[in-house]
Symmetry: C2
Subunit: 197 residues, 2 copies
Amino acid sequence: MGRWEPGARGRLERAALELYSERGFEQATVAEIAARAGVTERTFFRHFADKREVLFGGSGALQELFVSTVAEAPESATPMEAIAAAVEVAGGLLQERREFARRRHAVIIANPGLRERELIKLVSLAAALADALRERGVADPAASLAAEAGIAVFRVAFERWVGEPGQSGSPDLSDVPDLPKIIRESFDELKAVTAGK
Amino acid sequence: MGRWEPGARGRLERAALELYSERGFEQATVAEIAARAGVTERTFFRHFADKREVLFGGSGALQELFVSTVAEAPESATPMEAIAAAVEVAGGLLQERREFARRRHAVIIANPGLRERELIKLVSLAAALADALRERGVADPAASLAAEAGIAVFRVAFERWVGEPGQSGSPDLSDVPDLPKIIRESFDELKAVTAGK
DNA sequence: GCTCGTGATGTCAGTTGCTGTCATCAACTA
DNA sequence: TAGTTGATGACAGCAACTGACATCACGAGC
């Protein structure tokens, strides 16, 4: 065993989510989070740029999943189909972590500063998606618009998903709202609503 | 004349934009802004919730313009047409303040924290647009999707507009990029790209 | 086995954003 | 004339965040 317990980063993430849930984001101090994780405040800021970032450690992996799915879409797929496929795959990943996602989302929507951070992550995701489309030969502004629209669909669908009842621990699996399905429906709805212009 | 010069809020807004332009957002302290405006730091925080908000004083008026345009769209207009009309009208307003908009935008894109703030303003705008659509009897999720897609178009079009050369002070008015026109084209492009799904 | 880097952490001082509280003073009201 | 109101100043204080330096286990190479 080393001088310090390994996994400080993970402990900080867990401690932060707990404290933000228990007493709210603003009421929880970084010193408290660090203490609960068994490190000092300075170590917190070595792992995370600021007090908000500790809730967004997984966004990099999610972005890679999005981008690789777009890149691997069949050549015959239209830009919007490639984007929709990526959003659906990501939705499937969230589906498996429903309770965690809801818990985290509840903390985020309760604080404007955290909402801001989430939004910039999504915009960064949209930019990465647009890049991936350009790699496929899609020109601008179609690439940007398809990516932005796809993220808008993701936001709306995710919001509906977390808002619906149903527990992932429920004995009846048919109770669990199906995020990929909601995403598909939302893409269809977007198609319908834009066609009406 | 009173005890103090009136218009402290406006002076703070001008001083802040100047200082953020001159030396960058993070390098400028609130104390400096306040000093340049001839007030104390405490007075700054009485007018603006935080150091970022001083750049977003006009967002309320913009939102009202968006919402009232949607509300006043003809009954025959589809949801997307109502949204497009609102975005175009707002684009016309920005068109008249091109230099200010570019200057302000340059400051914002240079700092992640300011980008975050701008994004949450746009999301709040999308929420207000969705509300206005529901007032017109549009059901969810169509209302949310149309609003979000409209804001996505606005973002993409605005980005293109500020990125193009051309000075509003140019002698040849045909040099000035036309934001409402770019917005119309972007809506058409969105229609095309979503139809391809 | 010894030395020496390396990397993650601790320690501490300092700046700055932001808040609570109370005092001040001109303009307005009665 | 007296009281009220509203915007501001003055000041203390907390917490987020940063820079600089010390510490100490571990592994590489000798």
